[in-house]
């Protein structure tokens, strides 16, 4: 074994690739210190410090784009374009979550500093997860994200629903990560002591059943994060009980990290089992699309309905994973980006309505148009976009996903996707119709005009306008799709695996 000098060692770690993560870490330490030193008087500055940090971290992603050597920390972390895009998505979702949580925290009377610190920790975990390519790293990053998420969902600790959501999330989450770990320990043994995903692949290629067992266990662990049916039971409970801004983050940031992990783990550790995992994800996708959309119809709570809707949306994204073509991956990322804005927009609307009325029952939204046309417009556009109406962004996202599916010959998947999308229109439009057509409900009759000058309301307004503009405009901006396609082309693990490219799998 050659001995490296310290300088060479540091050089070989390629530390620069994690610059955005350093900035996020720095920001969360600064937040803690600022709160410790100045305390309550500066509480209203904390969200802006957080946003500044996230903004700087997003800027720090740009120079990494053109780096040729993407291996960092001796191969434990990969800074390839695929990971970069997901890290960007997680950063934006954290930023929007901060915007929507400022007023929520103020009104619920909980401590703001800890909330932002835990949120940034979750962001950090998600970002690391998007790039990790070594099993120990994957596990630690996954748990950073998960444990921070448990804490966030139990953040309003005097609320029994929030307690219950956190408890269920923790128990199921810990159990699923134990299953994931068991799968990884089998991979470690089967590969003869390798922990890097790319080095595992050639060693397990010829092993039949044991590798499949490890594959199944790993997919079970990842699917929990994706909230794919049948690993979705926690989703509606947690989404209903947890603080609404947290739910926004869980439904987008945490899910994006899960998809990044799924793509990287499957393509680099199981390229020789492509047929098997394509089939598994196809089945999970079909189940998610059907169950998510059907059960959402029966919901009476807005947050619970959005929970089932998010299960269904994850099902659509899984089409890209199940076909495993570069176009499929590109449209997955494109859809995640669009989903980020439309889903966050919907949750911003729910937060605003919940803060003013204290309820999230769907029936309470009746007649909102007469009292608050702006909120009605925001919610309606986001819900229409989630349903996939042209010319909103959600339509184009679905179009590219389904088109990639058809090109890969996965007609069953696309057919289920189309049919369930049509069914989903019913429950999205039902809410819009209720808001516009019906007479005001008792709750809405007491509704007062929104005072945007109250503490924390301005950031809520900025968030609403930001997500709204993107929900409308993003679909018309085709450069973004080409951009995701380019980045997939530049990602070595997705292009050097010949099997994943050539496989055509239509279950």
């Amino acid at each position: 074994m050659e001995v490296l000098s310290t300088a060479d060692l540091i050089e070989s770690l390629n530390l620069g690739l994690l610059a955005p993560e350093y900035i996020v870490t720095g920001t969360l330490i600064i937040l803690l210190l600022v709160d410790l030193i100045w305390g309550r008087p500066v509480a209203n500055k904390l969200p802006w410090i957080g946003l500044l940090g996230l903004g700087l971290a997003s800027l720090a992603l740009i120079p990494i784009w053109s780096v040729s050597n993407t291996d960092s920390f001796l191969g434990a972390f990969t800074g390839d374009p695929l990971g970069l895009l997901f890290r960007g998505i997680i950063l934006i979702s954290a930023a929007v979550t901060i915007l929507m949580s400022e007023r929520y925290i103020y009104q619920s009377g909980t401590a703001p500093a800890e909330f932002f610190v835990i949120l940034l920790t979750a962001t950090l975990g998600g970002m690391l997860l998007s790039g990790s390519s070594e099993m120990v790293m994957i596990f630690v990053a996954l748990e950073t994200l998960s444990i921070a998420s448990y804490l966030l969902s139990g953040y309003t600790k005097l609320d029994v629903r929030s307690n219950e959501a956190a408890l269920k999330y923790l128990l199921l989450g810990a159990a699923s990560s134990a299953i994931f770990l068991y799968g990884m320990s089998l991979l470690y043994g089967l590969s003869g002591g390798e922990t890097k995903l790319t080095e595992i692949a050639p060693k397990i290629a010829t092993m039949g059943f044991p590798s499949i067992l490890a594959l199944v266990l790993v997919i079970a662990g990842i699917s929990f994060k994706l909230a794919a049916v049948p690993f979705h039971q926690w989703t509606p409970d947690v989404y209903q009980g947890a603080p609404t801004p947290v739910v926004g983050f869980l439904s987008v940031g945490s899910k994006a990290a899960g998809f990044a992990l799924a793509i990287r783990f499957m393509t680099s550790a199981f390229p020789d089992f492509a047929t098997q995992w394509h089939t598994i994800f196809a089945v999970l996708g079909i189940l998610s699309m059907i169950l998510g959309n059907v059960v959402a119809i029966a919901q009476t709570s807005m947050k619970r309905m959005l929970a089932y809707s998010s299960i269904a949306q994850a099902g659509y994204v899984m089409i890209g994973l199940a076909i495993g073509t570069p176009d499929g991956y590109a449209s997955m990322i494109y859809y995640m980006l669009i989903y980020l804005f439309m889903n966050m927009g919907a949750f911003l609307g729910v937060v605003l309505f919940g803060l003013k009325t204290g309820t999230d029952e769907i029936s309470a939204y009746a007649g909102l148009y007469q009292k608050d046309p702006f909120l009605t417009l925001c919610l309606s556009l986001c819900l229409f976009s989630l349903a996939g109406f042209p010319p909103l962004a959600g339509f184009f996202g679905k179009l590219y996903l389904f088109w990639a599916g058809i090109q890969a010959g996965a007609y069953t998947l696309v057919f289920v996707g189309l049919v369930t999308s049509v069914a989903s229109i019913y429950y999205y439009v039902r809410v819009v119709k209720l808001m516009v057509v019906k007479e005001p409900s008792e709750v809405v009759q007491k509704y007062t005009p929104t005072d945007w000058t109250l503490p924390g309301m301005r950031s809520l307004q900025i968030g609403l306008v930001f997500t709204l503009v993107n929900t409308v405009a993003l679909g018309l901006a085709s450069p973004i799709l080409n951009f995701t396609k380019d980045s997939i082309q530049n990602t070595p693990i997705l292009t050097t695996a010949p099997l994943a490219k050539a496989e055509k799998n239509a279950p």
Binding site: V136, F139, V160, A166, A178, Y182, G189, P236, G241
Partner: protein, 105 residues
């Protein structure tokens, strides 16, 4: 008969531990017991990793390293879990799983 310890014994032990953990997870009503069952599952993974590390990878001992991380993270998870259980106990005066049914459709 050869009673020398070989890898299989450890793997069977780990699998058995893991199954006991899963059984405890689905059958316990006391939340603390559920948490303990999860610890069992994580320790099954540790046994697996250590056995593989010892028999297959004695040079690099990556498995032992992995185990240290698993133990650390499991401790963090247990701490957060107990904190949440404490919060819920203060509000509800119970830690019985079947009484936590506010969230249902």
């Amino acid at each position: 008969m050869n009673f020398a310890l070989n890898l299989n014994y450890f793997l069977v032990l780990a699998a058995a531990l893991f199954c006991v953990g899963i059984y405890g997870l689905i059958s316990s009503r006391n939340v603390v017991r559920v948490l303990m069952s999860i610890e069992l599952m994580l320790n099954a993974v540790n046994v697996n990793l250590l056995a593989f590390s010892n028999y297959i990878d004695p040079q690099n001992i990556r498995g032992q390293l992995f185990t240290i991380f698993v133990i650390t993270v499991a401790a963090a998870e247990a701490a957060v879990g107990l904190a949440i259980i404490l919060a819920i106990y203060r509000n509800r005066q119970t830690i019985d799983m079947e009484r936590f049914n506010l969230l249902k459709w």
